[in-house]
Point group: C2
Chain length 197, copies 2
DNA sequence: TATTATAGTGACCGTTTGGTCACTTGTCAA
DNA sequence: TTGACAAGTGACCAAACGGTCACTATAATA
């Protein structure tokens, strides 16, 4: 990540927009967090909306880079145990990384106010992980690690419950332990049913 | 539903809060929608926050009445076909009723700004339907209609994917057909696996 | 050294917002 | 008939907001 003022503005804008929404965030707070005067912001961005759009550009680019390209695919699991470990590792990351937490909050609170947020939310909460696990499950079925079913359907019923619990954890962080336990249980149950012994 | 001014204010407040968020909604628009002057609102509620709290009281009471009490349980399915029909009927209702759509929007956009919204969101998106289907599945297992598994786990993996797709439909209403098709597919797949022939 | 572009400041502006207040109207009971 | 109360109006207020502008400091370049 860069550390220019222009980039730092977006960093703090993410915090404020995620915590207060677009309408609720104000440029005085943003400037204060950066140790700048409000008018300094206008040397880097033309308006509040301009900051918002630049932040969205960055979020969209980040998602495309990490979830859209084939090169960022995780290592294919060679056993159902490895599927469990891989999923839990991805989970720990997505549930603890402050920036991703803020991104999730922003997507949820602004999904109805901005079309680009709307599209990105669908990718983030549905299509992104679904696609990745479709590929993973296809491979695991080929390798005889999973029962042969429609890999898309399997990816859906695997990722959707996890996504639901991640959203719960984003909403109520104090339930993190409960969420982790339930996801572990769920994955083990899933493997019990679809894993090939 | 009542049709007093006090109640009508809440009706329109739901629309505005759901569409613009608490911060984004303003009392002039609200008054205009009601054909009232802004100051008239203050004859019924002490402040914007007071309106918000009254609306939330009503939402919480509504949810408790329709999802918390035993008397509002749906008729127990006597076959897996009836489970399919029941689920699709509940789905059509929850996906098309304007007030419930607005409620979902409000829960999603304000879940991080208000603790009561936070709690209600968890009930609405997770615990509520989960509890209902736990009871339904327990009964269906007793009746030999479903394989005997942990009914709570089954309710979770049944409702979570549906909830995910309902949220997609709330976000992108033009995908309603796709969502309905996917849910149908999912339910049939679920019944294929857990239904007793 | 003089010039120029960049980054930053603080005072200021117009608009929007939640909220108040004196006043009016209609209804119903004493 | 009158008095009291609830419901509604429009003008007004202070605060918060996004945005502008003249000005300063710094550092690189000609």
């Amino acid at each position: 990540m860069e550390n220019t003022t222009k980039s730092r503005i977006l960093d703090e804008a993410l915090v404020l927009f995620a915590e207060n929404g677009y309408k609720g965030a104000n440029l005085r707070d943003l400037a204060a967090r950066l140790g700048l005067s409000k008018s300094a912001l206008y040397k880097h961005y033309a308006s509040k909306e301009d900051i918002w759009n630049a932040l969205l550009d960055r979020m969209i680019a980040y998602h495309a880079e990490h979830f859209g390209s084939a090169e960022h695919l995780p290592q294919m699991p060679k056993s159902t145990e490895e599927l469990y470990v891989l999923t839990m590792k991805m989970l720990h990351f997505t549930i603890n990384d402050p920036r991703i937490i803020l991104t999730r909050k922003l997507l949820l609170t602004e999904q109805f106010h901005d079309e680009r947020v709307c599209k990105l939310a669908t990718k983030h909460f549905l299509i992104g992980t679904e696609n990745i696990f479709t590929i993973i499950f296809e491979k695991m079925m080929e390798d005889g690690l999973l029962k042969k079913e429609d890999p898309k359907m399997l990816a859906f019923i695997y990722t959707a419950p996890v996504t639901t619990l991640i959203q719960l954890c984003t909403r109520e962080p104090d339930k993190q332990e409960e969420v982790m336990r339930r996801i572990e249980e769920f994955i083990k149950y899933f493997i019990k049913i679809y894993g090939v012994k």
